[in-house]
Amino acid sequence: MDRYPFDNYWAHLGVFLVIVLAFVVVGVMMYIWVERRAFGVFQLRMGPNRAGFWGILQSVCDAIKVLLKEDVVPFAADKWVHMVAPVIGFLPVLLIFAVVPFHYGHGFLPDLNVGILYVVAVSSLGVIGVFMAGWSSNNKYSLLGGMRVVAAMVSYEIPLVLSIIGVVLVSQSLSMNAIVTAGPIPFFLLMPLGFLIFLCSAMAEINRGPFDMLEADSEIVAGFHVEYSGIKFAMFFLAEYGHALAMSAIAATLFFKGWEGPGGEYIGVLWFLIKMVFVFLLMIWLRVAFPRLRIDQLMAFAWKFLFPLAIANLIVIAAEVVGFDGDIPWWMMWVNWVFAGAAILIGSRAYHLGGGRVEVQA
């Protein structure tokens, strides 16, 4: 496989930049539409159904509206930081897509040999933009949101990475393509605990579902982007859903065998997209059903529940890899399922969410 299909670095760069940008923007719009339609189903209502067929153009209309809005910068804001923050928040999302293998050997940098390491490194950059926004807005809600996101990100990176290491151990490679082709069965079957930990941490990482601490609309209004409007707000919105897009793409790659499937050589992209949307629907389901955790419970959940479980998962997977000399047979999944159930049961017995009152002198 040629590293630069167009035989020219700059041509390659140009073509794939356009493709990735278009994919992210259109994908985000589709995700928003899918989410809103799914919410409609979950919540006994219609969801958007006016603009276009089944409201499919609703996101386009919203995007146009939000782009035309006035861009307000608070008087006391740190103007430069305030302006740069959305860009820094959005950039890592694009960078993640550089290594996502949409199809065998087709992607921006399709065969980066440290692909997943790169993803982990880049995806944690987004928090800087969010924190910059929270800090520079000179708003207490934003500051609270910014502080929360830093705390949450730092905690959830760890179980996230530990669950990814499990996959890497089995596939014995950091390359995304190698991970897709490795393993006898999809990894979400082979290591269910790893997948659940990944899903939880990924949802916390992209601030969705019961972990949407940094926005927490009922508490701190909108968190870090209270003071953003117009195109800057759109950038944050794009970054948030782009992150969801990226995380579901990575989940599909790591745990659902990415573009592999019947006829994968020809319609691999289709398989990949289907798996992505499936992961995203899982996230929507969790988001729509659960109340939000409190910030201390969120941290405790990461450190006292997910972290030990991720370590246990890693040890078991490592033992299996060593025991079978790197070639785990598919029937080990039964063992792993039993292990996952037992680990979750024991973990939830050993640790309960709750508590949290602090004695203060008023």
Binding site: L144, P291, L353, G356
Partner: protein
């Protein structure tokens, strides 16, 4: 290195997504921990008590709808009860039964909204539980529309009775609703009762002790959640409540979860009362007492109180034998329940202020009046 933190003041509201209207709190925070909460009341003040002095007794009824607008007809009821006490008007039996049915339907509808909003304040992302609760509330609103043509501000009760008789299809519809409701209640219980996150967020949070509850003169579900069996429908029966069999659901430790459970329990009891009321209700007879068009109550004063969905709702009226009250005072249950908010949330996190505030079930129309 020692980390030095500094408390800061956060002005929550009046424009805040979950302050149930326009409530404003001045919150002193140390990071996420709440050091102090100071409610600043009055943003929605409309001078309703003063307005009463410039209106005849009947003209004031629509304004009572605007107090706690999620249980408007109970406000009507408390007010007309006070006026009836003042004038010594006895409402015919059928009218009393109709009032009870309407009150209890109103209580269900209010609690549905209260629980929905409470879960919303817990951050149940995008209104999901609330929309489920609103599915049933919508049916109740249809019922109310059937009797008086309105869906929010009903203006249904009159001094000495009610404005319209029940249409013939109303009672069967209520019966059907009461029969269907347990199914939906079971659905809520399935979804919420054992929900781990709900338990973590609500259990043990925002506790109010029995002593504090009594000293602060709390009432309604907030009082009952502390284990205190106090319900005016039982302890000081008005209308025909002494004829019904029902229990007073109580909590144990007065936390957010107990308040939520008490509301669920009260909805079950309301359904019990409605069933009995429909059975016992006389089918014929007048529903309105003979009341002069322009009421001139004798000199004196009266206090009418009912167990509204939020607590003891009282109207205190002083009459100087003119067509308008000399002075009218409202005892809003939520304002008084709100006085315990500070003690409930100190030491908890920012998110708990909102959750606790939601669990008190306030209505700003009533607090600011």
């Amino acid at each position: 290195m020692e980390v030095r933190t500094e408390p800061f003041v956060l002005n929550m509201g009046p424009q805040h997504p979950s302050t149930h209207g326009v409530f404003r709190m001045r919150v002193l925070l140390d990071g996420e921990v709440v050091l102090d909460v100071e409610p600043r009341i009055g943003y929605l003040h409309r001078g309703i008590e003063k307005l009463a002095e410039t209106r005849t007794y009947t003209q004031f009824i629509p304004l009572t709808d605007r107090l706690s607008y999620l249980s408007s007809m109970m406000n009507n009821h408390a007010y007309v009860l006070a006026v009836e006490k003042l004038c010594g008007i006895v409402v015919p039996e059928r009218g009393e039964y109709m009032r009870v049915i309407i009150d209890e339907l109103m209580r269900i509808s209010n609690h549905l909204a209260a629980i929905g909003f409470f879960l919303n304040d817990l951050g149940a992302s995008v209104f999901t539980p609330m929309l489920y609760m609103y599915r049933e509330r919508e049916k109740l609103l249809d019922l109310f529309e059937m009797v008086c043509g309105q869906r929010l501000t009903y203006n249904y009760m009159r001094i000495g009775g009610l404005s319209h008789d029940f249409p013939p299809e109303f009672l069967p519809a209520v019966k059907q609703f009461v029969d269907e409701m347990p199914h939906y209640m079971a659905e809520y219980e399935d979804l919420l009762k054992e929900n781990e996150i709900l338990l973590a967020r609500a259990k043990g949070v925002g506790c109010v002790s029995k002593e504090l509850a009594i000293n602060a003169s709390l009432s309604g579900p907030v009082l009952r959640s502390t284990g205190m069996e106090w319900d005016l429908r039982k302890k000081d029966p008005y209308s025909v409540y002494e004829r019904f069999e029902f229990d007073i659901p109580v909590g144990e430790q007065g936390d957010n979860y107990d308040r939520y459970r008490v509301r669920i329990g009260e909805m079950w009891q309301s359904m019990r009362i409605i069933r009995q009321a429909i059975e016992q209700m006389p089918t014929t007879g007048p529903m309105n007492a003979e009341v002069p068009h322009l009421l001139r109550p004798p000199k004196g004063e009266a206090y009418g109180r009912i167990e509204s969905s939020q607590g003891e709702l009282g109207f205190y009226i002083v009459s100087d034998n003119s067509i308008a009250p000399y002075r009218l005072h409202i005892r809003p249950p939520t304002l008084i329940n709100l006085t315990a908010l500070r003690d409930m949330v100190i030491g908890w996190k920012v998110a708990d202020i909102i959750a606790t505030f939601g669990s008190i079930d306030v209505c700003l129309g009533e607090i600011d009046r």
